[in-house]
């Protein structure tokens, strides 16, 4: 009996020791937490992370945590009190700019090999991916504005190609409304319920592509200047006050607009390149024959380039337990060209880096809709002062989007109001510099066709 008891004790002890050792080996793995907003990508990313966790020889375990609308508040709190190891940058740049100045992120230059530099070297852009010269991330995918149009409606009224200039766009919209408004079909629409949301995706890109300022900021002059916006406001005022545009646009949100487009009631509108193909494939499936095109230019200007918003960059935070391992994991998984190509092919995003883009296939979603891929004129622009630090440009009175919205729907003097807007933005910009919150930005020999060089 005694022997049996001793044997049992030995068995239990051995079992404990074995369990203990295996426990130690599991604990040796460095757990790296990633915060992300991309719930939609979860079914694509989850198996990849699982496989990486099982196969990597570096003792890294990635843990993906998905946040929804509370992401921004969570990052706010994390930057003050501690948070994840890695942050997946959503298409909101402030997640980078708000915290980089406080030293919340770790620069990645120290980790990059020559090979990495060859692949990503062009992406060091001050205020966007870099801060005071140090590089922090590379955006893997990007989005920008595109003209979305209903080919069936164009065919019915005899429009052969999507418009390439603002005046052509107004003329086409007018033609559609004149011929088809009896059936409830109108030429043009915009989601003006949120002026910022509507004009950020349309007007800003149109002005940039025409060689104008970026969100009102003229990099060559180092000043805000809204005088370039006059023809845009005039054209939109014509469409939105003379019954050419879809009725009720002033209270229209983007989703109700999309449902009306899907129902074949809208000829054209301008929206994000990353969103619309997926929306009409799953959210609002439609039988209409639709497509995208480059947004129109302001008349009389040469095509320059339009800015893109790059996202799905991976930021290593100062709370990271092992930045070197974090870089290793990010580079092996998310910055891996094969992963990025597969991400595009799955229809989840459009690649920004032309070297990787050349190796990737077109997703089924974009077959025949290649205008939604990134082209040679879709480029990262440097950050304007209010992007670098929004607190350094606190404009008194209405912001640019609300002011321009008021001009489009109202009858105030356009030149006078834009001059006042210019003055108010420059006053706020100067005040920010005087307070030490902002720094003057001016780029000598600025070329809007190659803004980052």
């Amino acid at each position: 009996m005694k022997k049996v008891f001793c044997f049992a004790i030995v068995v239990v002890l051995v079992a404990l020791v074995v369990a203990g050792f295996s426990g130690v080996s599991a604990e040796e793995k460095t757990k790296l937490t990633i915060w992300s907003m991309s719930r939609a990508d979860l079914s694509f990313i989850d198996p990849i992370i699982k496989e990486y966790n099982e196969t990597n020889m570096d003792g890294i375990e990635l843990v993906l945590e998905i946040y929804t609308d509370n992401f921004f508040q969570a990052v706010d709190v994390a930057a003050a009190t501690g948070g994840p190891d890695i942050i997946d940058l959503p298409n909101t740049l402030s997640v980078f700019t708000n915290y980089v100045g406080q030293g919340y992120y770790i620069p990645i230059d120290q980790f990059m090999t020559e090979e990495d530099k060859a692949l990503w070297g062009d992406y060091r852009i001050e205020g966007i991916t870099a801060y005071k010269g140090d590089l922090y991330y590379f955006p893997t995918v990007a989005t920008t504005g595109r003209l979305i149009y209903n080919q069936d409606i164009f065919d019915r009224v005899g429009i052969e190609n999507p418009p390439t200039t603002l005046s052509e766009m107004v003329a086409d919209a007018k033609l559609i409304t004149e011929k088809l408004s009896g059936e409830g079909i109108y030429g043009f629409a915009a989601n003006f319920k949120s002026p910022t949301g509507a004009l950020l995706r349309s007007m800003d890109f149109m002005i940039e592509l025409s060689g104008g300022p970026c969100q009102g900021f003229d990099f060559a002059k180092g000043q805000y200047d809204y005088s370039f916006y006059t023809p845009f406001v005039e054209a939109y005022r014509e469409m939105f006050t003379q019954g050419i545009a879809f009725p009720g646009c002033e209270s229209l949100d983007i989703d109700p607009l999309r449902t009306q487009f899907a129902a074949g009631k809208i000829g054209m509108y301008i929206s994000w390149s990353h969103a619309e193909p997926g929306v009409y494939a799953t959210q609002f499936p439609t039988d209409i024959n639709w497509n995208g095109a480059t947004i129109p230019l302001i008349d009389g200007h040469e095509k320059a380039s339009q800015s893109v918003i790059g996202y799905h960059g991976y930021l290593i935070t100062k709370d990271c337990k092992d930045p070197e391992k974090a870089w290793k994991a990010i580079n092996d998984v998310f910055y891996n060209p094969e992963y990025i190509a597969a991400y595009q092919e799955a229809g989840l995003g459009v690649i920004m880096n032309p070297i990787i883009s050349a190796t990737a296939g077109t997703p089924a979603l974009l077959e025949g809709k290649e205008a939604f891929l990134m082209g040679p004129t879709d480029i990262l622009w440097p950050a304007v002062p209010h992007e670098v630090n929004s607190q350094a440009v606190l404009v008194e009175g209405e912001n640019m989007y609300n002011t321009i919205m008021g001009l489009i729907l109202g009858n105030a003097d356009i030149d006078k109001t834009l001059a006042d807007l210019t003055d108010r933005y420059n006053a706020a910009y100067q005040k920010g510099i005087e307070q030490g919150l902002g720094e003057p930005i001016q780029i000598e020999n600025f070329n809007p066709a190659a803004p980052a060089n």
């Binding site: 609308d69 706010d76 709190v77 930057a79 003050a80 708000n98 915290y99 100045g101 406080q102 409830g184 003006f192 319920k193 949120s194 002026p195 910022t196 949301g197 950020l200 879809f246 009725p247 009720g248 002033e250 209270s251 229209l252 949100d253 983007i254 109700p256 009306q260 009631k265 209010h386 929004s390 607190q391 440009v393 606190l394 008194e396 009175g397 209405e398 912001n399 609300n402 919205m405 008021g406 729907l409 109202g410 307070q435 919150l437």
Partner: protein
């Protein structure tokens, strides 16, 4: 003496849970917010607050056209809503207070329903009803012979539309208050009034309203304060637009702290937002005090 002390302790012990929560969840956040009125401060991630003295007040009173618009809109909305909802709620309560009314329980529940609905859902539902291109309201108006659809949410009509929704949303609530008040009016008074041969209007004017005096005073005060603070429906339905047509004081203050919709980009300005909040609260406070002074008579109507 000891008994008195223990009685007091008992009272404070019973009040304590409420007082503690009230202090930490109501008073403290208000004080926290208002201490920023002299600062330029953008919140957690924006660096340290910068002391700017009375700069926020100067900006508010000399260089903020939207504040003036919001102030005007708030009064239009409050007067429209209170002026619409109180008479309607009163007459609904009068109808439902009749003893011989069949199905009064069902009617009460139906009228009360909007009160328990989420204001955000209401905003979305009313968008479907009022939108110009395929809204139900316009469909019926066109059927009734109207030539062109009404742009209910356009610059000209948006305020009227949010007032209509405000009235609809508040009706049930005030009806219940009035009903409670009406049920406290002794039946004998009506009987003796009937013996004196009064007509329906005299009955209301000389019996019902005087008996409702103190209740009416509280209902009106609540209605005024709530109308000044209503923002949820407006936020969902119009986001204060188009072009500030439905921007009210508290919505204007709110947007300096939080984005109104997920798509909107906001530069948080806690300092300026706190100033707008403070001035708005003072305005509502003044209106309430004026009302309380003017309405003192209501207490002594009979």
């Amino acid at each position: 003496m000891n008994k008195k002390v223990s009685e007091r302790l008992q009272i404070f012990a019973m009040l304590a849970p409420n007082l503690v929560l009230f202090f930490f969840l109501s008073i403290y956040p208000v004080v926290w917010c208002f201490r920023y009125i002299f600062f330029q401060y953008g919140g957690l991630a924006s660096g340290d607050p910068i002391y700017i003295g009375l700069g926020n007040f100067k900006r508010l009173f000399t260089n903020d056209p939207v504040f003036i618009i919001a102030l005007k809109n708030t009064f239009i909305y409050a007067i429209g809503k209170v002026g619409g909802v109180l008479p309607l709620a009163f007459f609904s309560a009068m109808m439902l207070n009749r003893k011989n009314l069949k199905g009064s329980g069902f009617l009460r529940a139906t009228l009360f329903m909007p009160t328990i609905m989420s204001a955000a859902v209401m905003g979305l539902v009313f968008y479907l009803l009022f939108n110009v291109y395929n809204g139900e309201v316009n469909k019926y108006l066109l059927l009734l012979g109207m030539k062109t659809p009404v742009n209910w949410l356009g610059t000209k009509n948006a305020m009227l539309t949010v007032i209509i929704i405000g009235i609809w949303g508040g009706l049930g609530n005030y009806m219940i208050y009035f009903l409670a008040g009406l049920q406290g009016v002794p039946q004998e008074l009506y009987e003796s009034a009937d013996l004196d041969g009064v007509n329906a209007i005299q009955r209301i004017w000389y019996v019902t309203l005087p008996m409702l005096g103190p209740v009416l005073k509280m209902i009106m005060m609540l209605a005024i304060v709530i109308a000044f603070q209503d923002i949820t429906t407006i936020m969902v339905l119009t986001e204060g637009g188009p072009v500030n047509a439905t921007m009210t004081l508290f919505l204007y203050a709110y947007q300096f702290f939080f984005p109104i919709s997920p798509g909107s980009v906001v530069t948080t300005q806690f300092g300026y937002g706190a100033t707008v909040s403070l001035v708005s609260s003072v305005i509502v406070g003044i209106v309430t005090i004026i009302y309380l002074v003017v309405s003192r008579k209501l207490d002594n109507l009979y």
